[in-house]
């Protein structure tokens, strides 16, 4: 196992953070909240320019061939600045699935397109229920797909989808025969909405590409985004507690405040431990990868929602205004808690794995 970062990885992190710090624009992010299916094309172009879109794509297909931990570092830094990066996790999950289960033609066509930023994938798995559908209503017949997928992250701006159908996971070009139903969501920068397929053409991935595994990879990368967000929310609480005074002293001197921030730290570190374990599990092909990813998702969801809400509480009234940045994190935390399946669903995933397999 390698649960600690190499110095190369620390460098990747440093560069990403410097870029994001300079690019961070809360005003723009608030504007995105008002745009249904809002997509930050400038940021996407920057990701292309920096090679981030190719980070998880094998070198043979024009990518950088980095491992999961490297991709996760980028995700964590993106989460820290709450940027609109709805394709980071899905593209990585898609690249792995296509590389492992795609045909030669699919690999040759799509992996370079992911690396170059021309392809943006959405994972279209859920229908109108909390968990993954056991019997998907979306049908695959003779290369044509019909049905509706709900609350797909990136739906508004994706070029391709991996869709769960009654016959397995299908690769779909979203250029035609697809209606995108994009409504307002708690965090419009997630670009989410429903995808309704009417005779959309698709190809099944071979070799048993599992929807749950796809989702687990997306959840792993998302967990790092969540951890980044949780740490940013905690850092803001620390800063505020160390500067704001009330009743003649720094508010950080009140145990209600300082213990709350310490509790954020406890949750954040538990989340990081689990997320590192899951990333290592993916890299090493660990048989319990899905349980690890589930634990990472639960811990990261808990950490992010706690840190965002409690950091807001630490700030008092100023924190609950539209003009303050904290609600970018609060909204993102709830959106990310729901969009890949609620905590209830993931608790069930973890227990199914534990009670089915040796621990």
């Amino acid at each position: 196992m390698a649960l600690s970062y190499s110095s190369e990885q620390e460098q990747i992190r440093g560069e990403a953070r410097r870029f994001l710090e300079a690019a961070f624009n809360a005003e723009k992010q608030r504007r995105l909240l008002h745009a249904r299916g809002g997509f930050d094309t400038d940021f996407w172009q920057a990701c292309v320019n920096m090679g981030w879109t190719g980070a998880g794509v094998p070198e043979a297909f024009g990518g950088l061939g980095l491992g999961p931990l490297d991709v996760c570092i980028l995700a964590e830094e993106c989460g820290r600045f709450a940027v609109a990066a709805p394709f980071l996790a899905a593209n990585y999950a898609a690249a792995i699935a296509i590389n492992d289960h795609g045909s030669d033609a699919q690999r040759a066509a799509l992996l370079p397109a992911i690396a170059s930023g021309d392809a943006r994938f959405a994972l279209a798995l859920f229908e109108d229920e909390d968990g993954l559908p056991q019997e998907p209503a979306t049908r695959f017949r003779a290369g044509l797909i019909n049905g509706r997928k709900c609350a797909v992250v990136g739906a508004a701006a994706a070029t391709h989808a991996l869709a769960l159908t009654d016959s397995g996971v299908a690769l779909v070009d979203l250029a035609k025969h697809v209606e995108r139903h994009i409504g307002d969501t708690i965090d419009n920068s997630r670009c989410s909405g429903d995808l309704a397929f009417s005779n959309a053409s698709g190809e099944l991935l071979q070799g048993g590409a599992q929807a749950l595994r796809l989702l687990a990879v997306q959840a792993l990368v998302t967990a790092f985004e969540q951890i980044g967000g949780a740490e940013a929310a905690m850092a803001r609480a620390q800063r505020y507690a160390n500067t704001r005074e009330a009743f003649g002293q720094l508010i950080g001197k009140f145990q209600a405040i300082k213990h709350r921030i310490a509790e954020m730290y406890v949750r954040n570190e538990l989340a990081r431990g689990n997320a590192l374990l899951a990333a290592t599990g993916l890299a090493e092909g660990a048989p319990d990868f899905i349980a690890r990813s589930g634990a990472a998702r639960l811990a990261a969801t808990d950490a992010f929602e706690f840190a965002a809400a409690q950091s807001m509480q630490t700030h008092g009234a100023i924190g609950v205004t539209w003009e303050h940045d904290l609600h970018l994190y609060l909204r993102r935390a709830r959106a990310q808690a729901l969009e890949l399946g609620s905590p209830l669903f993931w608790e069930d995933v973890v227990v199914d794995m534990l009670s089915g397999s040796a621990m």
Binding site: F126, D128, E129, D130, G131, Q134, C150, A151, G183, D184, T185, I186, D187, N188, R190, S192, E245, A246, F247, G248, Q249, K253, F254, A256, I257, A309, M312, Q313, G316, A317, I318, G319, V320, T321, W322, E323, H327, L330, R331, R334, A335, A337, L338, E339, L340, G341, S342, P343, L344, F345, E347, D348
Partner: protein
């Protein structure tokens, strides 16, 4: 039938008659400004029928009734969704302060129009840098002959953009210890130099404002209480209206959660059969019933002519926690589509709105931490936190 039961029946008949024009249905889709307008008209209607400011003296437009009649009426009123909440501040704190501390003349001028819903009042206490810590206000009140000149800023002032007058605490002696240099005034919100800027909260509703005072001149007659006695006056203000009925503007009721849990599924079964959902529903029920019992008991005590116990002070803390837990679970049960957001929805009927309003609930009207401190110190007799701001000047 007791007199009170008869009163309840009469009130209910009056309320039912007007529910269509002023209740939930009438409010649907209104902007905040339209709701304020409706609320003022509803107040006028109540005044015309003897249901406005029930306990206040008839001399100033009140109904001269009893505390219990007031509580009965507000409890009934809350059931129909009348917009009374929008005038709760006006009639809950500023105008009562006028009633207690203004001159008879001033009372005759200011109280009746407020009772009739013609004029609205706000309370200007918080400042940037002085939230929970009320005594830290910095807005300056400089004496100038028979006048005072106000300059500085207030914040978090509810509905200030619609208000005609406000009560305010300002620093009149910058050299006195923190708690001792404040004075209390009422001000004309339309006076030259007063400007109001709405603040968007998380759900982008503009319930609160920043208010700037740029050398605003007011006569010394606008002072309430003695010079430099403003901190005590501000605390008196906050102690007003102790037994108000539970706020009507709540989250969706527990029934709605039970219904949602019947229709949503978890692991292929109705969610209502899932232990996590059952635990949440059972505990929310216990919290709501417990609070309802506390409220009911306070009424009984008042009926018997006794002072209710202090346990009503747990209401906001416990109710807002239960409401937030229910909203979060409801969203979790809605699956990935739970992310949907309708910016025009109301907290009373929409779980996402209820959820996003949660952090504000924990802060507005006393943060959770201040409420716990109050329970600990005032009810349980525990010592006050270390308070360097109360130390004599010059001590470390």
């Amino acid at each position: 039938m007791t007199d009170l039961a008869a009163y309840r029946l009469r009130a209910r008949a009056f309320l039912e008659q007007h529910a269509e024009s002023y209740g939930w249905d009438a409010r649907r889709g209104l902007s905040l400004a339209q709701e304020v307008d409706l609320a003022k008209r509803w107040q006028g209607m109540k005044a015309a029928h003897g249901y406005a400011c029930i306990t206040w003296p008839t001399e100033y437009g009140g109904a001269g009734g009893t505390e219990l009649e007031k509580i009965v009426f507000s409890t009934e009123e809350a059931k129909y969704g009348f917009p009374a909440g929008l005038l709760a501040i006006t009639l809950g704190m500023p105008v009562p302060m006028m009633l207690h501390h203004a001159t008879p003349e001033q009372k005759r001028r200011y109280v009746p129009p407020a009772v009739r819903g013609e004029e609205m009042w706000c309370q200007l206490f918080s400042e940037p840098g002085a939230g929970s810590d009320l005594a830290a206000v910095r807005l300056k009140a400089r004496r100038d002959g028979d006048d005072w000149v106000l300059s500085g800023q207030k914040i978090w002032t509810s509905y200030a953009q619609f208000c005609d007058f406000g009560i305010l605490v300002a620093r009149s002696d910058p050299d006195a210890p923190k708690h001792k240099g404040l004075t209390f005034f009422f001000v004309d919100m339309k006076a030259p130099g007063v400007s109001v800027r709405p603040i968007k909260l998380l759900h982008e509703h503009e319930d609160v404002n920043e208010v700037f005072f740029d050398d605003v001149r007011i006569p010394d007659a606008n002072r309430l209480g003695a010079v430099n006695d403003g901190f005590r006056m501000a605390i008196l203000t906050l102690m007003m209206e102790r037994y108000v009925a539970a706020a009507s503007d709540d989250g969706p009721p527990l029934d709605a959660l039970v219904q949602l849990a019947r229709t949503r599924k978890l692991r292929g079964r109705p969610a209502i059969e899932d232990g996590r959902v059952r635990a949440a529903i059972a505990h929310a029920y216990a919290t709501q019933r417990g609070l309802a019992a506390i409220h009911e008991r306070a009424l009984e005590e008042l009926t018997a002519g006794r002072e209710p116990g202090p346990e009503g002070s747990i209401h906001k803390l416990a109710a807002s926690r239960a409401r937030h837990a229910m909203a979060t679970l409801a969203l979790d049960l809605s699956g990935p589509s739970g992310v949907a957001y309708d910016r025009d929805a109301k907290t009373r009927t929409d779980y996402m709105m209820s959820w996003i309003d949660g952090p504000t609930l924990r802060i507005a009207g006393g943060t959770d931490e201040m409420l716990l401190n109050t329970i600990a110190e005032k009810i349980l007799g525990l010592p006050q936190d270390h308070r360097p701001d109360k130390a004599p000047r010059g001590a470390p």
